[in-house]
């Protein structure tokens, strides 16, 4: 599947799950932003951290 196809498939499935309607004329821009976010996330995921690394959002009781 093409990169655009993967992004569109993900967008369609999750938007439906969340109850968000994506008008056809918005799709190009939404896909662009999703692609940028995917690339950003890929950069983060490539950084290896140990399993016990604490997220910054750690909760204090």
């Amino acid at each position: 599947m093409s990169d655009t196809g993967i992004l569109d498939g993900w967008l369609d499935a999750n938007a439906a799950l969340l109850g968000i309607a994506v008008a056809p004329e918005w799709r190009h821009a939404v896909r662009l932003h999703l692609r940028i976010t995917r690339d950003m996330a890929q950069n983060v995921l490539e950084f290896q951290l140990p399993d016990d690394a604490e997220p910054a959002s750690m909760f204090h009781a």
Binding site: H33, T37, A41, L49
Partner: protein, 464 residues
């Protein structure tokens, strides 16, 4: 005193305290100035005329009665319209929030500035829901840069930048999640303080990304930033993030000098992509401070990426119901980014938060060796309003997500920053970030003050 439009807050407060001018006169001059300039600059979305007049009259009465009137007595200020003002709906730059009931109380920072004698004169334009670096707004129109009204103010605190740089108020408040104080400071040529995350209360402000949101002041000089900061700092049980640390006033030590401070400039990531103006400004400041050492913030590009992922995901989660039910009421540029953020997988966000802790620990180790780090605030001067893309590292990229490339890796871990403006002869201003260790706003402000007193940085007065 004559026209106070370009007077500092300190000068105005001293004049009011000394009886050279009444607070009422200051406020009437301010309201007249706003009426003259705001139709051009579009910085204000509401002007609190009656409240301001009433407050000014109360200050004059207090002074006449010999009561204390505060260190900011009679100083006009305005706030980004995501900050609560009793009696007004808190717009956060949106059309949707116009249907909300008016705020019942002022935000904590507004109350504290007024307790110090300052006088609120209005609320300010901003990018919708603060998801913006441009200062554009499809509902209220764009904030316009006082140095060239065809150019952006930067955002999202665009009205705050325009109001201060345009001589309508000496102090404004804004918010900064990824750069929304520092970017308008850079584009408009003014000073901005993004404090340490958790330093200033956010109670009574409309959120964007809770784990990244800060509030802070803009001014045309370091002294006024310190005055505003000192009036606002302190614990606040209404903001669970607000620190209970003891605080010392910064203003008193502002002129202590910078002898002994170890100052470096950021290299690597912070050099790549910077335009000639950004690099020239950084060189100018670094040379003046004899900051010859270059230091690398480890994995800064990845930090920016992680901030991006957290921002889009947390921001979208905040607006999920509105995206479902009122998508046509959003600014389209904001809506499309938020929809993309709504479908981000949770694993990406958790990875970004784990990386955030690693990055914080790595950067904090740098502060064993230096006291402050200099970096560009923006890669370029203010682009024309409406521009959608620009060239970064030789590639054409969307403008809106990329203006904050140098601010995001810094606010990502909550470091305090003062943006200092560097005038460009014959051109638009641009700012440099003075970054300090957590809770050391005093260090960043002392450096800003030193640079200002030596004429290296200043807020240029625009031609009108």
């Amino acid at each position: 005193m004559s026209d106070l439009a370009w007077a500092s807050a300190k000068t105005t407060a001293a004049a009011v305290a000394g009886g050279e001018v009444s607070a009422t006169t200051v406020i009437e001059q301010t309201l007249a100035r706003i009426a003259q300039r705001n139709p051009v600059l579009n910085a204000f979305t509401a002007i609190t005329v009656e409240r301001a007049r009433s407050r000014a009259a109360a200050i004059d009465a207090a002074r006449a009665a010999g009561r204390a009137i505060g260190p900011l007595a009679g100083v006009p200020f305005a706030v980004k319209n995501l900050i609560d003002i009793a009696g007004l709906p808190t717009l956060a730059g949106s059309k949707i929030n116009r249907g909300h009931p008016p705020a019942t109380n002022d935000a904590t920072l507004v109350s504290r500035l007024e307790a110090a004698g300052a006088v609120l004169v209005g609320t300010l334009n901003m990018g919708e829901y603060a998801y913006d670096f441009t200062g554009e707004n499809s509902h209220d129109g764009p904030s316009r840069n006082p140095h060239d009204t065809a150019r952006m103010t930067g955002g999202s605190s665009g009205g705050s930048g325009g109001a201060v740089a345009g001589g309508m108020v000496p102090i404004a408040l804004g918010s900064d999640t990824n750069g929304s104080i520092r970017v308008p400071s850079s584009f408009c040529g003014i000073f901005g303080l993004k404090p340490t995350y958790g330093r200033l209360s956010r109670a009574g402000s409309f959120p964007f990304v809770s784990s990244l949101d800060h509030l802070g002041p803009f001014a045309r000089g370091a002294t006024d930033l310190a005055l505003a900061y000192d009036a606002m700092v302190g614990p606040d049980s209404l903001d669970p993030v607000c620190t209970v640390r003891d605080t010392e006033p910064i203003g008193a030590g502002l002129a202590a000098g910078i002898t002994g401070l170890r100052i470096a400039r950021a290299g690597g990531y912070f050099r790549s992509g910077a335009g000639v103006e950004a690099l020239a400004a950084l060189d100018s400041v670094a040379t003046a401070l004899r900051a010859t050492r270059e230091i690398e913030l480890p994995e800064a590009a990845r930090a920016r990426a992680a901030a991006y992922v957290i921002t889009t995901s947390e921001g979208a989660a905040l607006h999920l119901d509105r995206l479902r039910n009122q998508p046509l009421d959003f600014d389209p540029d904001v809506r499309d980014r938020l929809i993309a953020g709504a479908v981000v997988p949770a694993a990406w966000v958790v990875a970004a938060q784990k990386f955030r802790r690693w990055y914080r620990d790595a950067v904090l180790r740098l502060f064993d060796e230096v006291d402050a780090i200099l970096a560009p605030a923006t890669p370029c001067v203010a682009p024309p309003i409406g521009q959608k893309s620009f060239v970064l590292n030789g590639q054409e990229v969307p403008l809106r997500p990329n203006i904050g490339i140098y601010t995001q890796p810094v606010s990502f871990i909550g470091l305090p920053v003062v943006a200092v403006p560097v005038p460009q002869p014959g051109g638009m201003p641009i700012a440099v970030q003075v970054i300090a260790a957590p809770w050391r706003e005093d260090v960043a402000l002392r450096i800003a003050y030193d640079l200002e007193t030596r004429g290296i940085v200043r807020s240029p007065q625009p031609a009108e």
